[in-house]
């Protein structure tokens, strides 16, 4: 059963024009994901641009705290719930969190990528997958 909430949906809503920036944001995140796959979280975390990716950074700290994926999801969901953002900024925070949860589950970069592209919407997702395939990332 899919549990949904109207206020949450409203909070996630953002103009298409803003959404078009998501592929660039996702690609930037994927650079970190690839790095983590290659050298691990502790070696990558000092290089994460914390002001640009605060949720991603915080989530990586929770991974280093040896928490289960469920516990990380529980904590990150609270952070998101009390975040002061809505629209595009909130959507980006959700994507950062989704990447963290995927990493916490031990997913490969390809699988992480597949998990976050739907946030970009069907058209952008298609374009993202195509361009990643051309670059040999998905």
């Amino acid at each position: 059963m899919i549990y949904w909430n109207r206020d949450l949906a409203a909070r996630l809503k953002c103009p298409e024009k803003e959404k078009q920036q998501l592929p660039i944001f996702i690609k930037k995140l994927m650079v970190y994901v690839e790095k983590i796959h290659e050298i691990g979280v502790p070696a990558t975390i000092p290089n994460v641009e914390r002001p640009l990716f605060p949720y991603f950074y915080q989530g990586l700290s929770l991974i280093m705290d040896n928490l289960s994926t469920e516990a990380i999801e529980e904590i990150m969901a609270v952070y998101l719930s009390v975040s002061q953002e809505s629209g595009f900024q909130f959507l980006k925070q959700c994507i950062e969190t989704e990447v963290v949860l995927s990493l916490a589950s031990g997913d490969t970069p390809e699988f992480t990528f597949r998990k976050i592209v739907p946030y970009a919407g069907i058209d952008q997702a298609d374009w993202l997958i195509q361009s990643a395939a051309n670059m040999g990332t998905a």
């Binding site: 909070r11 502790p42 070696a43 719930s81 009390v82 989704e98």
Partner: protein, 398 residues
């Protein structure tokens, strides 16, 4: 899953807000906006509640129900006491939302109280799932934003400083310590294995390792809180599981690590551009060698692979099709497979000549093994036409 969890949290906040005035329309602003003031202005007081709650759970876990009940009886704060009594009297399957509703606990007269209620609700839910007090504090302090994480970490480090290293040592015979040591240079794969295994399996597997290996691992992979939680999982495993069960967990962990290694190597092979791989360009040789591996009878293949050096097998593996590659790794004993993977990692690629020579060594081994097995019983070697053709194709190459 994230969206579902967010939606559930949002529904809880809706309930708390609606209870504030009894009229939903008066609530106006969404929860996350109304709690900002309390989050920033009264964060210290709320943090005290979160820490006290975690402290109570620590008493329950470390000293038992009686000590917990005594501590709770002295508590004066109404909502905190209500939550603690739920933990004292209820089963883990209790309907928490219903309990809060019937206890009038979802009513909040101010944004501070709304935030406190949400925080206590989530803390109680986490405690009912038997989470460690450190995890519960992290969940509760998250309501105060990321800034509060530093305070939560400081409390955890201080409260559990005696858990920051293991007092006891339990060493089980086996490869696990060596496997951990060899993966400490670049911990990426080990980290992924730990995450995929989950804290419980990883903790159980590590519980049979020497203390210095665990300390080394903690310093490279985990934060202070992470080391404390790992040591807790290790202590639980040592108390609850037999040596055999810990050995099983170690085998499962090592299998998982091995799978990661194979998967990484396959991915790497797929990502490296062909001109950089120095892959053999002779498709006929690749096909013949792959077919030879697929055609060779299982026991015979196993005997030969055991006898061949890991370096020779590594060369062969680089020049065959995926199906044959899988057959080699499913036939090899685990320890030998590991050595082959190490040789593969050390390899800088192969050319056609190297592959030809090593394929011929492999083919000769097949012939020699078959003739060895049948020298007393038959004048002609019992080789199928197909196998004979493949052997001849490989051995006649220059």
């Amino acid at each position: 899953m994230l969206m579902q969890r967010l939606a559930r949290l949002q529904s809880l906040f809706d309930l708390i807000q609606k209870s504030e005035s009894g009229n939903p329309s008066e609530a106006g602003e969404p929860f996350y906006k109304t709690v900002l003031e309390a989050r920033t202005g009264e964060a210290d007081q709320l943090m005290v509640i979160a820490k006290d709650f975690a402290e109570y759970i620590a008493i329950l876990r470390e000293k038992g129900k009686e000590a917990f009940e005594k501590a709770v009886s002295d508590e004066k704060r109404r909502k905190l006491k209500f939550c603690l009594r739920i933990l004292l009297e209820s089963q883990p399957s209790v309907n928490l939302q219903q309990s809060f509703l019937s206890g009038g606990m979802l009513t909040a007269r101010s944004s501070r109280e709304a935030l406190e209620t949400a925080m206590l609700y989530q803390g109680t839910a986490s405690a009912l799932k038997n989470s460690h007090p450190a995890v519960i504090l992290k969940v509760m302090s998250a309501f105060l934003g990321m800034e509060a994480a530093v305070q939560a970490d400081a409390w955890i480090a201080d409260h559990y400083k005696h858990h920051s290293s293991l007092a006891e040592e339990l060493i089980l015979p086996g490869d696990m310590p060596d496997v951990i040591l060899t993966n400490l240079e670049n911990t990426a794969r080990l980290e992924r294995t730990i995450r995929l295994a989950g804290p419980q399996l990883a903790g159980t597997a590590l519980s049979g390792c020497p203390r210095d290996i665990i300390s080394e691992l903690e310093s490279k992979i985990f934060s202070t809180s992470g080391a404390i939680l790992l040591n807790h999982d290790i202590e639980v495993a040592r108390a609850e599981y037999s040596s055999d069960e810990i050995a099983d967990a170690q085998n499962a962990f090592m299998e998982l690590l091995e799978t990661m290694k194979i998967s990484d190597m396959e991915t790497a092979t797929g990502l490296i551009e062909p001109e950089k791989q120095k892959m053999p360009q002779d498709p006929l040789l690749v096909a013949d060698l792959s077919n030879l591996i697929m055609e060779t009878e299982e026991k015979l293949l196993k005997d030969i692979l055991i006898r061949l050096s890991p370096q020779v097998i590594a060369v062969i593996v680089q020049g065959i099709e995926p199906m044959a590659h899988d057959r080699i790794f499913s036939t090899l004993p685990t320890a030998k497979a590991r050595r082959v993977l190490d040789a593969l990692e050390a390899s800088t690629g192969i050319d056609t000549l190297t592959l030809t020579r090593n394929a011929q060594i492999f083919a000769q081994q097949i012939l020699s093994e078959i003739s060895q097995q049948h020298k007393m019983t038959a004048k002609q070697l019992p080789i199928t036409g197909r196998l004979r053709q493949l052997l001849s194709a490989i051995l006649s190459r220059e």
